[in-house]
Structures are given as C-alpha cells and as structure tokens.
Point group: C2
Chain length 282, copies 2
C-alpha cells in the first residue's frame, strides 16, 4: 500500500509543490491501513487480481485520509496530532489542509475511473457508486455532521449506533465491497453474507476505537487520547461501560465470523482481520 500510494500521489517537486508535498505528508508513512487490508482480503475471497484491488484500496485510503485531515481542522475537532505526527493544518496551514482533503477526495474517484484490466466498466462504476454512497451525506460526511451536532448531548445507544454506522461503518463496509467488486460476481446470498460481515466489522471497529480512546495513552495511540470524554462526546464506553463495550466488540466479531462460514477457507484472511480489529481492545 505504501508503494502503491506513493506512486499514485503527485510528486512533491511538481507545482503546486506545497499542495503535493502536504498530500504525501498526510497519506504516506502512517496509519494501520485497515480499510485497504479489508479490500485485499475481500478481493482474495472472489479471486480478484491484486493490481485492481490495489487501485480500489488506494481510493478508499485516500477518502479515509481526506476525512482525517478535514476532521482535524480547527473548525471541526481542532486536533494537533495524528498518526504520531503534527496534523496537516499544524505542519502546513489551514488553507493547505482544506485543499489537501479536497484534492485527495478527487484523486480517490479518479483512481476508480482508470482502466482496470479484467474488471467490467459497469463494475468499476459500481465501485464509484459504493464509495460515493459511503463517503457522502448519507455516509461518512453525514455521520460527521451528526457527530458535531451531538457534542454535549445525551444520545441513546440507537442514535450513537446510527451515527457510527454512517461516520465509520459505511467506509469500512465499502472497503469490503470494493475489493469484492474486483473479482467474480457473488450470488445474492453470498453478497448478503459479505455485507453482514462488513456491517458487523464496521461497528466493532468503532466500539474498539472508543475503548482505546479511553484506555490507551496518547503516545501509544498516535493521536490525542481521552479526547471524546474531554469533549463530552457520547461513546460506547460512556454509554455501556468499559467491560460491556469490550464484550460487545467480541460479540460483533463472532457474528461477523458466522456470516462468513459458507465461504470456507477463502474467507480466512477476512476472519483474521476481524480478529485483529477486535484484539486491539484486549
């Protein structure tokens, strides 16, 4: 992923240099690349060509990184540390951070529009659609708007779940889908099962994030810890308690495993990722 992203991002010595340099700064050398890994694992499930999955994985990661850059800006979460480095508007300036996010989003969709050998144009269009639905007003951006509006409010568990389904879950789910769209067509039942897996993992990811925000220190996390509590943001931990949140994450993993059962060993990598995501909170 590091090599693929480095090849796709514009070179720092080409004008506008500061924009390109900042795009590389925020995207390279950092992040767990969970979404790309999910895309590759889903691609493996359907025998997809890894070059094509790589393209989709770059697109997904760029959408994710753009959202981090914008979320960290002073008018949003106003954060100074991300992936262990100063955030974009701190290392560069606010105007650059704004443009970096904008240009990364565009580059993500551009990636999906480039020829993919052996993938039908209609499947590529589906990728564009899935990614757009996951990232837009009915997905990630919408979830962020609900999150902003919820600061200092008491949310119900159902409201919190809806917010995270949009904010984090939608893109995790799309990661699985984009990988799967690069390979053989799925039956309706297979598609439904894969989607069940993706939904569970998306939710588990957020529950674990809340656990980590509560338990880990800033150095381990690479971003400011304890911020949600300090901002009086509702989290799974604040609503369920720490032990119950951990139990819930494991329950979601087990349900995700069950959904993949009929796929047999082809789903092993997806299962390993589900395990990895949840094990972070042990």
């Amino acid at each position: 992923m590091e090599t693929a992203l480095a090849a796709v991002l514009p070179a720092s010595h080409i004008a506008p240099e500061s924009l390109h340099d900042a795009m590389r700064y925020v995207t390279l050398e950092g992040g767990k690349r969970v979404r790309p890994l999910l895309a590759f694992a889903a691609g493996e499930l359907v025998g997809a060509d890894s070059t094509n999955v790589e393209r989709a994985a770059c697109a997904i990661e760029m959408i994710h990184v753009y959202s981090l850059v914008h979320d960290d800006m002073p008018c949003m979460d106003d954060d100074v540390l991300r992936r262990g480095k100063p955030t974009c508007h701190v290392a560069y300036d606010e105007a650059t951070a704004l443009l970096v996010g904008d240009a990364l989003q565009t580059l993500a969709f551009e990636q999906l529009s480039l020829p993919m050998d052996g993938v039908a144009a209609s499947a590529q269009l589906q990728m564009v659609r899935k990614l757009a639905e996951a990232a837009g007003h009915g997905g990630m951006a919408g979830g962020q708007a609900i999150d902003l509006a919820s600061v200092g409010k008491q949310l119900t568990l159902a409201e919190l779940e809806y917010m995270h389904l949009l904010k984090t879950g939608a893109l995790i789910r799309a990661s699985v889908w984009l990988g799967a769209l690069a390979g053989r067509a799925l039956s309706n039942e297979e598609a439904e099962r894969l989607d069940q897996f993706a939904k569970r993992i998306g939710l588990a990811f957020q529950v674990v994030d809340d656990v980590l925000d509560c338990e880990a220190d800033t150095a381990t996390l690479g971003k400011t810890a304890g911020k949600d509590a300090a901002n009086n943001k509702p989290t799974y931990v604040s609503l369920m308690g720490l032990a119950e949140a951990k139990r819930f994450a494991r329950e979601l993993r087990d349900e995700a495993f069950a959904a993949l059962e009929p796929f047999g060993p082809a789903a092993d990598r997806l299962k390993a990722l589900a395990d990895y995501i949840v094990a972070r909170s042990f």
Copy 2:
C-alpha cells in the same frame, strides 16, 4: 437545472438536517449555471439525451459550488457574500461549510455513477475521469493552491494563464467534455476542435471575470467587488490593462468560434454561450 438539482440534493427534513439544508442553500437559487449550459450545448452537438446530460450537468455544478463554498471560508478568501447571499460559513458555521463542500463533491461523483440509459459504462467512467482530472490537484484544487501562493507576488502573464487554466479553465473544459461524452462518439479531429473551443472559452471566462471584478459594483456582481485588487492578486486587468483585457476576451471568443466552424448549425448553441460569456464584459 434548478429542478434537477433540487431533486438530486438530499431533503432538508432528513437527518443530518443542517448539513442537507446548507447543501441546498448553497446550490439552489443562484448562479448563472454557465457550466451546465455548456454541457447541454455540447450534448446538443452530439445528439445526446438531455436526461443524461442533466445528470452530468448536476455533477459539474456541484463540483463548482463545493469549490465556491470552500474558497469563501475564512482560511481561504474569507468572503461573506456569494451569489447575493451570505456565504455558507456565515449563514451556518465553518464546520458545516467544510462538510457541505465535502459532501457536494462526493455527490457529484455519485451522480456520474448512476445508470444512464443509452450511455456506455465506459463513457460514464470517462466522465468520472474527466471530472476528477479537472477538479483535482492537476486542475481546480491545484489552481487554487497556486492562487493562494501567488497573493502579493508579481506573476508573469504565462504564470497567470497557467493558474487560471487549472483553477477555472479545467472545469469549464470538462463541462463541454461531459456533455459530449453523453452522445455519439467524436472523430479525433472533432474532439480536438471541441477541446480547442473549450480551452478558449475557459480562459475567456476568467478574463471577463477579472474585468467584471474591476468594473462592476458589489450589488451587480452578487459577490464582493474589487477584492482581487484589494488583496493585491494579479489579474488580467492588472497585467494587461482594462481595454486590452476586453480585447483579449473578444479575440478568444473569435478563436473559439473558428474552432467550431466544421460542425455547422449544430454548434450554434455553443457559439451563443461563448458570445454570452464574453458579452458580459462589454
């Protein structure tokens, strides 16, 4: 366009309400819709179905509007008036303006991914690619980065032209292309001529904008007038003088006309638009 955009934008009564409300506020009831008009006129040239061109036109206009919303933010041009109304971060807040721009960009690409009856999936993918190239780091966002870096600097005419080619020209050019991609395939010579037209018109549009920024008052313009001079930004007027800038705009129009000559009366609407764009500065 007004009806089409209103139908495509998320409803204000659906959560997150403030995001959706602000998306409609910035997009509807305003703007000259020059880019959609160019797409429709180019569609007419190649016998495109207007329903499909409408989809592409919505996508282009949403990219344009997102760029206005972000450019007006305090960390960029810090403007309070746009299309005769308070800008998004003034009417709502900065976080909402950031998300509105982000979500409009996503929605633009989503539009191009929806089924278009009678348009090949490969042509739709081409639309995604053309729009992404025009909007991203090598187009609009890159031009904006160069613009920001040029405040207070003395640019040469060649540097100014390059900046505007990216910042404004690329999307104008893509508008013509997306309309054309909805219809019959063009020969290489036709494609080259249409592109010559689109390039000339994109540049003329910016020259005329500079003339208007210098000559018109804020009420007529619907945005703050004289801002470029106040910000010490280089413009065609500051580099060429007012009379020469007007002459240059007319020259570009005449060259644009000449490029369309072999198309005959099918190009009449495109010519009328070129005339309209330049006549604004008379």
